[in-house]
């Protein structure tokens, strides 16, 4: 066979600048990857990681109590302030709230995910998917606003409870210490409900994904071996769904941990971590303490992610 019978494009040498450039990139895949990665890495590296380090560096400075100016000497005293009673209370309160919201989200999300994974087929499945995605993606502030309408003293919930003749129950609940208050919209109960509503959809899809991977015959085998549905759930379904629950809990926990808008709009005047950061950097002008406060959720999430990785949660994402 002579070269004359080959397609012209293979034998042709003069392929122009773009052709030669493309050949060079094909022959040097490392160069190609480098060219692809330079713009995003520059953007994320300089703008994001750069800002992050600038912030973290400031947590090692302190503020002069008299002048109110930042002293640029390395010190751990700002971190020491986190352990004062008032600040430590804020941290405990936030972590506790995040944990409660996560647990409640798992309880509410599980039946939805279970139905969607095991029973919904065809159009029903698409319906379930959209029914979860639309609230998940719809405007955060509008959702918070809707709950302000619901929880207000003259709002829907009070009206509904009144119709059911259960006003005494609501009043008794509001009379409770800590979780109560003069109305639901200024109580921890209200804050909790809004957090649950806003972050719960993030729990459904990971649980559904992990449940869909449980083979149906495993459940039948369990039943054939004489397990009651309850036993099958406890010893077959739940352990297999656990990585999905942990994966979902990463979202609900992290999002609750850093939120400062919900407790500001629906809640008592006691602060959460996000509000403390906001107040310290804004009105108080104490950037070092704000920076130290924002390290707290980073550390907590790093520990949480390490634990989650051990439980295989990342395969369920």
């Amino acid at each position: 066979m002579t070269s004359a019978t080959l397609p012209a494009s293979i034998t042709r040498r003069d392929r122009g600048l773009t052709g030669r450039l493309s050949d060079t990139l094909w022959r040097h895949p490392q160069l190609f990857v480098a060219i692809l990665l330079i713009p995003p890495l520059l953007w994320l590296g300089i703008i994001y990681v750069g800002s992050l380090f600038a912030l973290l560096a400031q947590s090692f400075f302190s503020i002069d109590d008299f002048s109110g100016l930042v002293t640029y000497e390395l010190t751990l005293s700002t971190y020491g302030q986190l352990w004062s009673d008032a600040n430590f209370d804020i941290i405990v309160r936030t972590v506790l709230m995040a944990a409660l919201v996560t647990l409640a989200s798992a309880v509410v999300a599980f039946p939805i995910a279970y139905y969607a994974a095991r029973y919904a087929r065809g159009r029903m499945k698409a319906f379930f998917y959209l029914a979860v995605m639309l609230p998940l993606w719809s405007s955060y502030l509008v959702k918070v606003y809707a709950w302000k309408l619901i929880l207000a003293k003259e709002g829907i919930l009070t009206w509904f409870v009144g119709k059911l003749h259960l006003t005494w129950l609501l009043d008794a609940w509001l009379a409770l210490p800590i979780i109560g208050g003069s109305s639901l919209s200024v109580s921890y109960t209200g804050t909790f409900l809004v957090f649950l509503y806003v972050w719960m959809p993030f729990m459904i899809l990971p649980i559904q994904a992990s449940l869909e991977r449980v083979p149906g015959n495993l459940i039948e085998a369990s039943a054939d071996l004489g397990a009651t549905p309850g036993q099958t759930f406890r010893s077959v379904i739940f352990p297999l769904a656990l990585p999905g629950i942990v994966a979902g809990s990463i979202f609900t926990f992290s999002l609750t941990l850093g939120d400062y808008i919900i407790p500001q709009i629906v809640g008592s005047s006691r602060l959460f971590i996000g509000q403390a950061v906001y107040a310290q950097q804004g009105t108080a002008g104490n950037i070092p303490l704000a920076a130290a406060f924002s390290v707290v959720p980073i550390v907590i999430m790093a520990l949480y992610l390490t634990a989650a990785k051990r439980m295989g949660a990342f395969n369920a994402l």
Binding site: A54, S138, Y145, E154, Y197
Partner: protein
């Protein structure tokens, strides 16, 4: 051989799943009801009467229009930047293996994995260190950073489904790298990019936490709403804006769903 699965769910499960879905949707429906209420001062329920007048009032509010314009502008620019950077990263991560690949995907996810307040305060302190004045571009800078991940996720999933043999076939037939990209890769990833872009737009359009730190005195639509939530001035206008925001964000989500739904039929996926 698997025996026929029992088709119907147990009743308690149906009730729990239904109640969960109601919990998710009733609050959003309430927004629609309140846009028509005649009550101006409080959140009274049930509404004493229904009216359309607040739509006209909202239409004539210049501050609402200004906020909406700024939001659309920021979201559009941020989406374009995120599309370029997200696609580049996805192409690099999915097509080849290289040292530090895990670190790159972690870096992309980080802005959304860390609480928004940290991204916000970090950017703000960087702006103040560098003496950068607040502008539309400072908002865009923050938004584009966390929108990259949305485009990246969509693109990476699609890139993985494109068979490598398709690209090789194109090269064998004499196309150079750019032609292969233009005629083979782009048509295959097009809908995924469109979907990613729409989600990025929706994410940016709705963002409030980072914007409170990077916006200065400017108000995007979510910032406008936040101010109304903290210090209500005219509740009926807020109700109407809330309803419009819900409708505006639903469209890109629905479109993104229909665009990625048929992704399994991408050419070359059945290798």
């Amino acid at each position: 051989m698997r025996s026929d699965r029992s088709t119907s769910a147990p009743l308690p499960l149906k009730i729990a799943a239904g109640a969960g879905l109601l919990f998710l949707h009733v609050p959003i429906l309430i927004i629609f009801l309140y846009a028509f209420t005649t009550e101006e001062k409080s959140y009274q329920f049930p509404p004493p009467g229904l009216t359309l007048q607040w739509f006209a009032v909202t239409w004539n509010r210049p501050d609402v229009w200004a906020a909406l314009t700024l939001s659309v502008k920021v979201a559009s620019i941020a989406t374009v930047i995120a599309l370029v950077l997200g696609t580049l990263t996805a192409a690099a991560v999915s097509q080849t293996r290289f040292f530090g690949r895990e670190a790159v995907s972690l870096l992309v996810i980080l802005p959304i994995a860390l609480p928004g307040i940290i991204t916000g305060i970090a950017l703000r302190s960087a702006f103040s260190i560098l003496d950068i004045p607040f502008s539309t571009w400072t908002i865009v800078l923050g938004h584009a950073t966390f929108c990259i991940v949305v485009v990246y996720n969509n693109a990476v999933a699609r890139f993985r489904r494109i068979s490598g043999s398709l690209v090789e076939a194109s090269m064998d037939l004499g196309a150079d790298g750019f032609q292969t990209f233009r005629y083979v890769i782009l048509p295959n990833i097009g809908t995924a990019l469109l979907a990613g872009g729409m989600l990025a737009f929706a994410l940016s359009f709705d963002e409030v936490i980072v914007t409170t730190f990077t916006g200065g005195q400017q108000s995007t639509l979510p910032i406008w709403m936040l101010e109304e939530l903290i210090r209500p001035r005219q509740r009926p206008v807020t109700n109407v804006v809330a309803m419009v925001v819900v409708l505006v964000t639903f469209l890109p989500i629905l479109a993104a769903y229909y665009l990625t739904r048929d992704g399994d039929q991408v050419a070359g996926s059945g290798k």
